[in-house]
Every structure is written in C-alpha cells, then in structure tokens.
C-alpha cells in the first residue's frame, strides 16, 4: 500500500509541477491550450495492516452495532468503520465527518467500548455524500472508457474518499477525474483488470 501511495504522490507532484509548464523543445510543437487543472494534494490511505494483539468479540460486536445503526442516526457525519491501529489490532476505528462533540459522544455510547478500544478519526465527508460521487462514477463508466480512462476499481473508502484504481492514467485524465468528480478522490494509477478465478 505504501508503494501505491508513493506512486500517487509522485504522479501528483509531476502533475503539479508540470501544469502550466511551457514546452522547452524548440520549433513548432503541438500546443495544449487547455492545460490540466491543478490536482489536489493526494489523500493518504487510512492505515491497515498487521498489529499486535488479537481482535476481541466486544470490538467486533461494537463495530457491527455502529455499522448498522450509525449511518441512519448520523447520515451527515458517519463515514465508515475499521478495526486495528498500528498499536493494537483490538481497536474499533470510527470515521466521522466534522463530528460535533455530541455526535462523538453518542457514537462512543453506541459502541459501548472502553476508551482504549475505540478511536474516532476525522473523515473527509460522510458515507452518504461519498455515495453520491460513487454513483456518479458508476454512471460515468462508459463515458470514462470512451475517453480512454480505464477505471478498474472504484468505491467509497472508510474515510469518505472515493477510491479509484485506474490503469496508467495520463496527467490530463487524472485532472479530468478531479475536475468532474471533485477533490475527494484517491487515485491508484497502477491498477490493471482483475483475473477471474
């Protein structure tokens, strides 16, 4: 995952550095008058991986409770759930977008976990808001393909960011995606089609 992030970061740097750059080569060149828009800073991927400890039944039950109930109770805030932090496997992580203190407290009460077993993380937007973008991308798949943009995977991340796996997009294509679907995108530029088993 780290290598993917670096790739995205590298791509973003290249795109940022080159947007608006003049072509240094001499002589007549094809000019692109519609230079790609500035690409937002890459959004880091939420942590996932091996951690010390073992997942407990109480954390699992809390996760299932929050995952079932929170989207309905806090539609403008709830983004997603995960388990594990670098410090411990046995932690429920709840992603909330701009939560008020009251919402945070209610989510903690819903989880009914000791303080050390629950962690609230800031999400970029709610699941509900991200799902709108996700549906837009689903509907746009044929037109994206017609533009040569090969989206292989897409879906809402736990932090409310739309994850896109794209096969080697050009700088223009990346800029187009941000322009069309907003800044809460996380693009992995090195994804090919999966192989059916």
């Amino acid at each position: 995952m780290r290598s993917r992030l670096l790739l995205v970061a590298a791509l973003a740097i290249v795109l940022t550095a080159c947007s608006g750059c003049a072509d240094p080569s001499p002589g007549p060149v094809a000019t692109n008058t519609s230079a790609p828009a500035a690409v937002p800073e890459p959004i880091p991927t939420p942590w996932v991986g091996d951690a010390p400890g073992e997942l407990s039944g109480e954390v699992v039950n809390a996760l299932l409770r929050v995952r079932d109930d929170a989207p309905g109770r806090f539609p403008e805030t709830y983004a997603g759930v995960a388990t594990g932090t670098p410090a411990s496997e046995d932690v429920l992580v709840v992603y909330l977008a701009a939560p008020t203190t009251q919402v945070e407290e209610e989510v903690r009460a819903m989880a009914a976990l000791p303080d050390g077993k629950i962690q609230i993380e800031e999400a970029y937007q709610s699941l509900e808001a991200a799902a709108v973008i996700d549906r837009q991308i689903a509907a746009a798949m044929p037109s994206l393909l017609a533009r040569g943009i090969q989206v292989q995977t897409y879906g809402v991340g736990v932090d409310g960011v739309e994850d896109l796996g794209v096969t080697h997009p050009t700088a223009e294509q990346v800029a187009y995606l941000f322009d069309r679907f907003g800044s809460y995108l996380r693009i992995d530029p090195d994804v090919g089609p999966a192989t059916l088993l």
Partner: protein
Amino acid sequence: MARSSSHSRCRRLLIAGWIATVTAATGAGNSAGADEFRENASDPSAPAIAEMSSTSPSSEVVQGLLRLRDEGPHLWPDGYGDIASGIQGDEDVLVVYLAESNQDLEGQVLDFAGVPVEKVAFRRASMTRVEAEALDARFSADAQNLIAQGYGLISWGIGEGVTYHVTLDASSADDVGGRAAVASYLTERYGPDLVIDFSPAPPVLLNDRAHDNPQWYGGDFLNANRGTAARRISIPCTSGIPLTWAATGNKYILTAGHCYSLTEKIYNGIGNVTGGWDSNLVGSITNRSWNIGYPDAELIGADGSRAMWRGPSAMPPGQTAGTVTIDTLTNPWRGMPLCVDGAYEGQFCGMTVGDPDHSVSAGGNTGIAHQATLTSSNVQAVGQGDSGGPVYATIQGVTYGVGIISSVADGYYSCTNWARQVGGRMCGSTVNIQNIGPVLSMWNLVLDR
C-alpha cells in the same frame, strides 16, 4: 449432517439427480466473460433467461418448468405428478406427468405453464407428487429399521415421472430370503409402484474436497462438463456458503456467478484429473448474477453444509484436516482478518481486508458490485478454480462467513498446486471477494441452518 451414512448419501444423490433432471438444460459457452446477464434477481424460485442452443430448452420451457415445479403440487394435489425437459430428439419440450389424465386438467396446466401446446408433452404418472412425497417420508422414516433387519438399502427416492426407486445391495438380499422375497415384502408394504433394483455395494466414501456428498462442504471442487467425450472441457470452481430462500426453505449453495451457465449441471470433481470429469452430481444452477452493477454470484440447487474444509487442497486419500463451521454471516470491514478456502489452493488465513466495498472490473464485466479486496504476502493465496470458495473469519470462537472468492488483482504467479491442471494455473495474493450481504438481499436468502 447426512455424510455419516453412505446410505443417506446415496439417497441424497438420487434426489439431487431428480432435481437436476427437472431443472437442467445444457449449458453452453464459457461463462467467464462470454455472457453477461443477471437472472431473476429477486426470486430464486424462478430463473428467467437461459443460454440456449438448438439442443437446449428455450427460456419459455424453462420458465414453465420451474413454475410448475414450484406450484404444481399445490395447485393440483390430486393430479400433478412431475415435470422434466426434453424428449427423444427434442430438448425444447416440457414434459408434464399427471396422475389423472383429463383435458380440463391439461388445459389448466398449459395455461399456468405459459408454454405453447406444441412444446408440451403429457405423460401418465403412477402417483401424484404429493403421494410420492408422502411415500418418501414414510420410507425414509422406516429406512433405519429396514437396514437393521438386513435390507441393504443403498438409495431410495423419487425418480422422474413420479416413480419411487429403491436400490439394495444385491448380496444383502440373500440374507433376507432372496430378491423375490425382498421385492414382495417391499411392494406389499409400500405399494406396487416401487421400482426395485439390486446392485453391488457402493464404494467406501473418501470424504474429501474431491469426493464429497450432501450436505456439501464449503471448499469442495466443483466442475462442469463441457466439450465432448473425445475432448473434455472442465470448468473448475469451488463450493461456497449454504443458503436458504427464506420464503420456501429451498436450499442452495453459493458460488461465483462467472463460473457456470444458468441450469448447467455441477459436479464435485477435480478439473482435468482422471475421475473428476463427470463425477458426483451436486445440482444445477438455478440463479445467476453476472452483470455490471451486480454481484458475482450464482446458486446451485443443492443442500450445502455450514462446514468448510480446513487445510490444504490435496490430502492423502481419505484424510482431511477437518472442518470449520460458519456461525453467522456479515459483510467484511476494513482491517478484518480473513481466511479464504478455495478447493485448488486450500485454506489460507492471513488475509486482511483493505477496501471493504468496491466495484471491480474483471472478465469483461466493468462493474462487479460490492466486492472487498483482501491482501496478503502469499502469492499462492488463491488461484484459478478457487472462485466461489468461502471466505470467513473466526474471531473469539465465532465464525463469520463474509463472502466468496471472485478474482485476483495480481494473478500472474504460477500456482504450485495442481500446476498441470486447467492449462497451467495462475495464482496471486490480492484477492477480490464477493461480499455476502448484497447476495442475501438480492435473492432474499439467509444462511442455511
């Protein structure tokens, strides 16, 4: 669990065979990418459109068949017998067995089936479906007593055309007075319409991934037989999670939708390995979901077990590493530790959920919906033929079934297992699985308990 008795196993096979007979059409074409359609997303009882060829039943015959299968016994309990598809030289015929034959009843059946009269053949049944099921219940209840008396029952059950078949171990008949005496005793007790056969005793079961029986375990080798006897083509996949249609109690085994064609017969056996082709019938595909925006899922009409094989794909004959049993179903979440259990690569734990709910492109389908991506460092975690295999987590003694294996993102490592089979298999470490929740809601299913 029915597996402890070879007798009950064979009986189940016979019934499964009957189900296959009445629902089956011939499959055609490789499902992976060849056809994109989703059938009957809301109702597992009535699959809609099947792939057709000139030697296959048409969709109207299949639909009529399934309609009658589900409703016939209730609508005409005193007359309805059985249904099948195909007669000699023409597969596109709905065969209806009626215990009482009159034009009024035939007219009602034709209207209800919605199949043109020229595509329907009526046959006389010796008993109604209701009577056959009552007989089956009575015979099954007596079976253990009969066995205890020395009657070597191998199989029993309802056959096509509403006949009742009983097969006994030929050698055991001599111990209870000979074949004539056995036949006389059974027909006197269960009626004159019994079809009684004597055959050699069945082989001892091995009970492993390649030689299973009802209730079918998760992680079994699945196979469909295509091609010809001269050039056999096997389509390998893996049995998944047992499900029940909540409305009727009909039982299904979940596997991947890209694996098989609607109505195709599915067998338990290893692709391209001697004995695997055309082996143990599991059932037929009753429902299939394989289209953009929908899950990669299909249902085999068969009785599955909540138990899944542990351990590697291949074990010495007759040996297994035991099983683990699904307690409940849930969708995966980010960070969830999971095990996968494909028949070809075997059980592997040590996967972690990354993206829990994404759409994935594979096999020409540009939006397989509601899939989770699992990562591991094991490039032999899954490989070709593992599709449909159960994915689960055991956390503090509770086993959560979360989905089935669908595809692999990095499928460019040569598999070390079964390397010679299926044309040189490819494996990988980053697995896309089909989440169970959307499959349950799509077809109104629950875990079969």
